[in-house]
């Protein structure tokens, strides 16, 4: 089946109800959840195991204090209530990646309960829902607030609980490591027992774009508090989505499907978008949605059934008798709270206030810790000029630096020739009209390639901008004299010709004329 209608069309008639389950491995810790085995991605198979993580009889687990601190930190950073009293449970199932035949997880009470994140949905991202909201008559969503450029969505977090990861299986004999058609499997228990925190959202998300933004925001928070490397590619950050549809205005939830294998932000968005369209098509044809687990296949751009849930799984959850319950003290919680760094959202707010930036620019600057730190360093160097240089520095980072890093995969800002000192020098050259903004782009590229200071590059290339009014006036006069017909047309009302005159002057001056001065002189002489 192929989805024929676009997401935008489908969402006019249907409301999508989306909830996410997000697993993060606590990769920044040294050891596993319940034993002292080393955490290491990509080590030789089965070189980090012990009686506990291999599930050998009689082995006793002891929880890692740093893991408990990490989950409490995650809860504090996502506005959760920290439950002092909770405990671990056994979730029983038989599968070779879990040698104990049960996963240690939490029961009805998790360490973190009842949190939320507010999403800023604006720019193109708001389109998926903003316009649609106007279409949905009488359906004003309770969890959004309109803003100038889009809306703010309040997304509830049901809980974050502590658990452990399973081992890794490689399937042999089938195609491309898939389980279908496999004859044998290889099992590596290095990952078994890796501390894992699972965050479950309320079904508060309404579009694939909101789901993507939630995931991005959560990833930024986890990176800021340093609990995980959050690599979706390597699987240290994983996301499953629950999706159901209901007619616009309906109150009852529809039957949901669970979507797996959305291992990038793009796959998360596209997988959900596809599944919404698929469900709409089935329902509109009078069909039925089955509660099932589906697998997103990004190459085929479709979801396929992995497993039909005929009955609720019975994991025979019961309190883990080998692990003592928790009764966290205020001291413990406060000691964790003291480690809470400035979160991206707070940083963006501070940048906007202290450096007179738009909320949008500030948010983009804090998207990556590196660029945020770089910007901050620049502002320190700018000293008294921070307020005037903040906007050009922000532009430089958001546009040129980001484009450069995107084009050079794997390169981090610290590895490049671009330093905060050079950034400040570059925008100062721009601010005092030594170079034009076009020349600034050339200088930026040259800094990256040659590793020289911006001023030296400007000097060596003789690319200084000419701002001398006398020299420019001569050029302007020449251009006007050479185009008497265009001058007539301009005076007759075709003011758009100003661009033509500026272009001619720039050409005469080999791109080195100060466009501001040229514009001023042209305006004066043509009036």
């Amino acid at each position: 089946m192929s989805a024929v209608r676009s997401l935008e069309e489908v969402l006019v008639d249907w409301e999508a109800v989306i909830g996410l389950e997000i697993h993060a491995e606590l990769t920044t810790l040294e050891t596993k959840m319940f034993c002292n085995c080393k955490l290491e991605f990509g080590a030789d198979p089965n070189t980090h195991t012990c009686p506990v993580c291999l599930g050998l009889p009689g082995a006793l687990p002891v929880p890692n204090r740093a893991a408990i601190e990490s989950i409490v930190l995650a809860g504090l950073a996502t506005n959760c209530d920290i439950e002092k009293r909770s405990m671990f449970y056994r979730k029983n199932y038989m599968y070779p990646d879990m040698p104990k035949n049960f996963q240690t997880t939490q029961g009805p009470v998790a360490f973190c309960m009842r949190g939320h994140l507010d999403l800023d949905v604006d720019g193109p991202a708001a389109k998926e829902r903003y316009q649609l909201d106007k279409l949905a008559v009488g359906e004003e969503r309770e969890n959004i607030i309109r803003t100038d450029s889009g809306y703010k969505a309040h997304v509830g977090i049901t809980r974050i609980h502590m658990e452990e990861d399973a081992g890794k299986m490689v399937h042999l004999g089938g195609g491309e490591g898939r389980i279908a058609g496999a004859t044998h499997s290889l099992v590596d228990y290095n990952r078994a027992g890796t501390p894992l925190i699972e965050l479950v959202t309320e079904p508060d998300l309404r579009t694939p774009e909101e789901a993507r933004l939630f995931m991005q925001k959560l990833r930024q928070i986890y990176l800021a508090i340093g609990i995980s490397d959050c690599s979706m590619e390597e699987g240290s950050l994983r996301c499953d989505g629950n999706v159901s549809l209901r007619r616009r205005g309906a109150k009852e939830f529809g039957t949901k499907t669970e979507l797996k294998n959305m291992n990038s932000f793009k796959n998360l968005h596209d997988g959900l978008a596809y599944e919404i369209c698929r469900q709409a098509e089935v329902l509109e044809e009078g069909g039925q949605i089955y509660q099932e687990t589906r697998h997103w296949d990004p190459t085929q751009k479709r979801t396929i059934v992995m497993r039909v849930k005929e009955t609720a799984d019975d994991y025979r959850l019961f309190p883990e008798p080998d692990l003592a319950p928790y009764d966290l003290s205020d001291e413990f919680i406060e000691s964790v709270r003291a480690k809470l760094p400035e979160l991206p959202e707070q940083k963006a707010l501070r940048f906007a206030q202290d450096f007179a930036l738009s909320a949008y620019d500030a948010r983009h600057l804090v998207e990556h810790r590196e660029t945020a730190a770089f910007f901050e360093k620049c502002m320190q160097l700018a000293g008294a000029d921070a307020a005037t240089l903040s906007k050009p520095i922000a532009n430089l980072i958001i546009n040129d630096v980001t484009a450069y890093l995107n084009a050079n995969e794997g390169v981090v800002l610290a590895d490049t020739q671009f330093t905060p000192a050079r950034a400040i020098e570059l925008v100062r050259l721009l601010a005092d009209d030594t170079i034009s903004s076009k020349q600034a782009k050339e200088v930026f590229s040259a800094v990256m390639e040659e590793g020289l200071d911006p001023a030296a590059i400007v000097e060596a290339r003789g690319m200084k901008q000419v701002s001398d009014t006398g020299a420019i006036e001569a050029v302007v006069d020449g251009v006007l004299a050479a185009n008497p017909d265009k001058v007539e047309q301009y005076k007759g009302g075709k003011t758009g010709l100003i661009g033509f005159f500026v272009g001619q002057c720039m050409k005469e001056m080999k791109g080195q004329g100060n466009p501001k001065v040229i514009n001023e002189l042209l305006a004066k002489k043509l009036s």
Partner: protein, 103 residues
């Protein structure tokens, strides 16, 4: 004897634990399991008014935690010692259809 479990319950339990039972065995197992549950009846007859429920088998112990420090465990050879088949440092097992839990 009270019927605590029906034959249907026993078939469900057998499926969970992957034990194949014949119809005769299901019948006999139902009788046996109900007898076992019956034998626990005295527990229900204790006077428990005012007794705090025990919500965890480990009495008053709580907040047991350890430091995040590496202690070397098994070598690969030792880890694989009990495996009937191995390949490339991994446990080699027959193919499994279906998937595990909801991690």
């Amino acid at each position: 004897m009270t019927e605590h479990l029906s034959e249907h319950d026993v078939r469900d339990i057998a499926e969970y634990v992957r034990i194949g039972l014949t119809d005769d065995e299901v019948e006999q197992m139902t009788v046996d399991l109900n007898a076992i549950i019956d034998s626990l009846r005295p527990i229900t007859e204790y006077e428990l008014d005012g007794v705090e429920p025990t919500f965890h088998p480990i009495g008053t112990l709580s907040n047991v935690m350890r430091d995040d420090m590496v202690v070397p465990g098994f070598s690969q050879e030792v880890a694989l010692e009990n495996a009937s088949k191995t390949q490339d440092g991994s446990f080699l097992i027959p193919s499994i259809l279906g998937e595990g839990g909801d991690r």
